[in-house]
């Protein structure tokens, strides 16, 4: 079954559910025009789509139903009980066919003649409701704009009716009322369908929160075990937050589903042949953000249809398939949701952009001559830019791309454009997963705390004071750091925040380099200190402070302190870091390709005085947690991590005896690794280093030795993650088996 059919099924199911509700209401209020229009719309939508998808049996049935409903809606028939029964039968009939479609992919062979005959008979019932023609028309129109969008259809259908001619004003396309449509959109935008299970969970959590609050209130008076309560409160809050966020998440298919119809209409209007491919529809995004990208996406799709994909003749002439492809793709990438609109059309001709920008006075000729191709493409986003030869109904008014960028940036997103002349254009929207709360690393500089969004952070490097002179290299005043052989431009946060400071900021004290990747720029931001990462709530800044340019907001830290949120992109621009990451990345990839595939990188850890290695590609993260967070299933130590159970391998017996008295604040290090699809934790004494290991061969046989590697000239055992016993086995075999074997 293709996506379109599946979508149609879901949509129709929803429509029929609504119809059912309305029908039962209708029995009580047979003259309610809104209910009738609602039912009419559901059936009409099904009819419209079925025709398009080629389900003729459905179409025929829906069409008969529609005729009957049309009469009811126009007040020529009263919704008497037999009619409602008939309509309910129609509903069941439609549901039956939809079910067959869902199961077999086709409508099946059964005949609906009896039902159709019955519905036709019902149309002959006498009219009992006199309603003035104009009122009827106005109401009908206000309630069902779709009807008028398909005006030709309605008129032909009316001709077949034996009833009196349609009311005075025939529906016309140009008079489709705008207001009711937008009102309807707003109504659906402001409501949200939420899974009942999720709501229940949220309710439970709120209950928990209230209980904990009560206990805290009491405990403050009695000074009982505060840490315990605090921990519970922390857990409940985290869970509740997650649930609320989940409730706000919606699949992008909610927005994507609007496009097939739009593409169909546009391709007819513009005489293009276009195939629409939708990918990653299940990707979820916050409801508000989803609403916010609806318009930009529509603009982008229109632009692709109008300026991107060429008419079939042109495509044939250039040797392309007459049918163009428009691809809408959604996927997640490092804390962002990416939405791509790509076409295999004409692409954007950079020279055209250049001359157009000059012609429109958006840029001077001298400046335009200096711009790189990449920068020239960015001109498209300037207000008032349009390269279309002619302004069409669809696009070309020079507002599109400007609006796309403004709207996306408003919600903290980014727009990227890639285009190759003759081959196509890709517009990429980078949307944050959620608006309000972001994970951030708290860094220190000039004696203050600042928040650095973790989305752009790729790694951290510690430079102790005594290694400052050796590891930070200067090239004519430009600080650099050798990161695994490549030079990384450095930006001292202190130098940015306090311009005109010393020649070598940060000298003589400890420094940390936060390696950031933002907007194709890669650089190291040097700070004086690091604090724990925190999930921060972004608070807007006043215009005066926003205009400084390097802060995106402020936040209140767990300590109650205020911290400004840094904008890594602007800092890079301010410090003059160039966009050269692509090139670097390319080099890095090349190096990797050239290197011996066995020379993998390893994380070197220490457990009970022994050095072990974990393949770096398996390491997800390193957690420093209070030992009290380790819990036990039987004798197996586990870690409840963000609601997921993580088995912890304790080869070095770090956790010690179960009933050993442990200090409340003792911390342990857990390396969280990936083993196939599951995650396991390794309790270690310390994380030592990252190093490249090389393959060892067995003496004599020359076979690659397994389970060991050569790290910095030491033979080091590699931890076998597959050896860590799975949790579920233990559960299934009951609690009798309590001792896991300690591998590595």
């Amino acid at each position: 079954m293709d996506d379109l059919t599946r979508e149609f099924l879901i949509e129709s199911q929803e429509g029929l559910d609504r119809m059912e509700r309305c029908l039962t209401d209708l029995e009580e209020r047979p003259d309610d025009k809104e209910l009738l229009s609602d039912i009419f719309r559901s059936v009409h939508t099904i009819k419209g789509t079925t025709g398009f998808l080629g389900f003729h049996r459905l179409e025929k049935l829906a069409h008969t139903g529609e005729n009957l409903l049309g009469l009811l809606r126009d007040g020529k028939l009263l919704a008497a009980p037999p009619i409602i029964t008939g309509l309910l039968e129609l509903l069941d009939g439609l549901r039956g066919i939809l079910k067959t479609v869902e199961e077999t992919g086709s409508e099946g062979e059964a005949e609906d003649a009896a039902l159709i005959e019955q519905l036709k008979l019902l149309q002959a019932l006498p009219a009992e409701l006199p309603v003035s023609a104009t009122a009827k028309d106005a109401e009908a129109r206000a309630a069902s704009p779709e009807l008028h969008a398909a005006s030709t259809e309605t008129t032909t259908q009316k001709k077949t009716l034996p009833t009196p001619p349609p009311p005075a004003e025939p529906p016309s396309e140009d008079r489709v009322p705008v207001k009711p449509v937008t009102a309807a959109v707003a109504a659906t935008d402001s409501t949200l369908r939420v899974d009942v299970a999720l709501l229940n969970q949220m309710m439970n959590l709120v209950g928990e929160l209230v209980l904990t609050r009560n206990q805290i209130l009491q405990a403050t008076a009695q000074q009982a075990n505060f840490t315990l309560l605090a921990r519970r409160l922390d857990m409940v809050t985290a869970d509740l937050r997650e649930s609320v966020m989940k409730a706000r998440m919606q699949p992008v298919s909610n927005v994507f589903s609007k496009f097939p119809r739009m593409i169909r209409d546009l391709s007819q209007m513009l005489h293009r042949k276009v195939r629409l491919v939708l990918e990653g529809q299940e990707t979820e995004l916050d409801k508000t953000l989803l609403e916010a990208i609806k318009d930009p996406l529509t603009h982008a799709v229109r632009n692709s249809m109008d300026h991107g994909i060429e008419p079939p003749e042109v495509r044939m002439a250039t040797g392309k398939d007459a049918e163009g492809t428009l691809r809408l793709r959604a996927y997640q990438e490092s804390g962002h949701v990416m939405i791509e609109v790509s076409d295999d059309g004409a692409g954007i001709h950079v020279e055209k952009v250049r001359s157009k920008a000059i012609e429109r006075g958006l840029i001077t000729a001298e400046r335009a001559a200096q711009l790189s191709e990449r920068e020239l493409l960015q001109l498209i986003f300037l207000p008032g830019f349009s390269t279309a030869e002619a302004v069409t109904n669809v696009s070309g008014r020079g507002v599109g791309m400007d609006v796309v960028r403004t709207n996306v940036e408003k919600i903290g997103g980014k727009v990227e454009l890639e285009s190759r002349p003759g081959l196509g254009t890709t517009l990429r929207l980078r949307i944050p997963l959620t608006l309000a709360i972001i994970p951030a690393l708290i860094v220190k500089s000039v004696g203050q705390s600042f928040a650095l969004p973790q989305g752009v952070l790729s790694e951290l490097v510690h430079i102790p004071a005594e290694r400052y002179g050796r590891e930070i290299e200067w090239m004519e005043g430009a600080p650099l750091y050798r990161l695994r052989g490549n030079l990384l431009p450095l930006v001292f946060l202190e130098g940015i925040l306090k311009p005109g400071g010393g020649e070598k900021p940060g000298e003589g004290r400890e420094n940390f380099i936060a390696v950031l990747e933002v907007d194709e720029r890669r650089y190291g931001l040097v700070v004086d200190g690091l604090a724990d990462p925190e999930e921060i709530v972004v608070k807007p800044l006043s215009t005066v402070l926003k205009s400084i340019g390097i802060y995106t907001g402020a936040t209140v830290l767990g300590s109650g302190d205020l911290a400004l949120i840094l904008d890594p992109g602007s800092i890079a621009v301010r410090a003059g870091v160039l966009m050269n990451m692509q090139q670097e990345r390319g080099e890095a990839a090349q190096q990797q390709a050239e290197g011996d595939p066995h020379d993998a990188e390893f994380l070197v850890v220490e457990t009970s005085g022994r050095r072990c290695a974990v393949a770096l590609q398996d390491v997800l993260r390193i957690e420093r947690i209070p030992i009290t967070r380790i819990e036990y299933v039987g004798l197996r130590p586990v870690l409840n991590f963000e609601g997921q159970l993580l088995p912890v391998e304790d080869a070095g017996n770090i956790l010690g005896q179960r009933d050993r008295m442990i200090a409340q604040d003792e911390q342990i290090t857990v390396v969280v690794c990936r083993d196939g699809n599951r995650h396991v934790g390794l309790a270690v004494h310390a994380v030592l280093d990252v190093a490249a290991g090389s393959q060892l061969r067995e003496a004599g046989t020359g076979r690659p030795a397994e389970g060991v590697t050569l790290l910095k000239n030491h033979v080091t055992g590699v931890v076998s993650l597959t050896g860590v016993e799975a949790l579920h086995e233990e559960f299934s075999s009951g609690d009798q088996m309590m001792v896991g074997t300690n591998v590595p």
Partner: protein
């Protein structure tokens, strides 16, 4: 600027009726200033604003105020006085572009002043100060210099 607008015509037609106004008195350095209470949302005592590097000099820093982050205007810097280290009080004012804080040395009591005692800015005041001040009330033994909150809005100060 209600009270201010009330005062100005008063000054021109001085012998007319006496109008009373409520003014919050604050101290900055040696001088007593007054802010019409109609503009004040709240007074926050003992605040320690967080400095904002690279911000315009008049910005005294940020404070956490009712779930929001408030930009403050350091009156000492606006009036080009020397900095003071001790904790300061903040008047939260509502401006055209949202709320902002006015950082003063200390907030005193609310006084009821009479239009009879009002005098417009003296001509010898420098142009910059004339912007921020809106005349003065002659009190017993001291002057209460009225501040003009509209001109102290961070947006406005930034534009200058």
């Amino acid at each position: 600027m209600q009270s201010l607008n009330q005062h100005r015509p008063m000054h021109l037609q001085q012998e007319k009726k006496e109008v009373l106004a409520e003014v919050c008195s604050v101290q900055i350095g040696e001088t007593y200033f007054g802010v019409p209470i109609t503009h004040i949302l709240e007074i926050v005592g003992g605040a320690q604003p967080k400095p904002v590097p690279l911000a315009p000099t008049f910005v005294g820093g940020l404070v956490h105020y009712r779930g929001d982050v408030l930009t403050t205007v350091a009156m000492r810097r606006v009036l080009q006085m020397s900095e003071q280290q001790a904790a300061q009080d903040i008047l939260v004012l509502e401006g055209e572009h949202g709320c902002y804080g006015l950082l003063v040395d200390s907030v005193g009591e609310v006084l009821t002043v009479s239009s009879k005692d009002y005098e417009a800015n003296p001509s010898i005041l420098d142009a910059r100060r004339r912007e921020f001040f809106a005349g003065a009330y002659k009190l017993d033994g001291k002057l209460l210099v009225m501040l003009n909150p509209e001109h102290l809005d961070p947006m406005r100060l930034d534009a200058e």
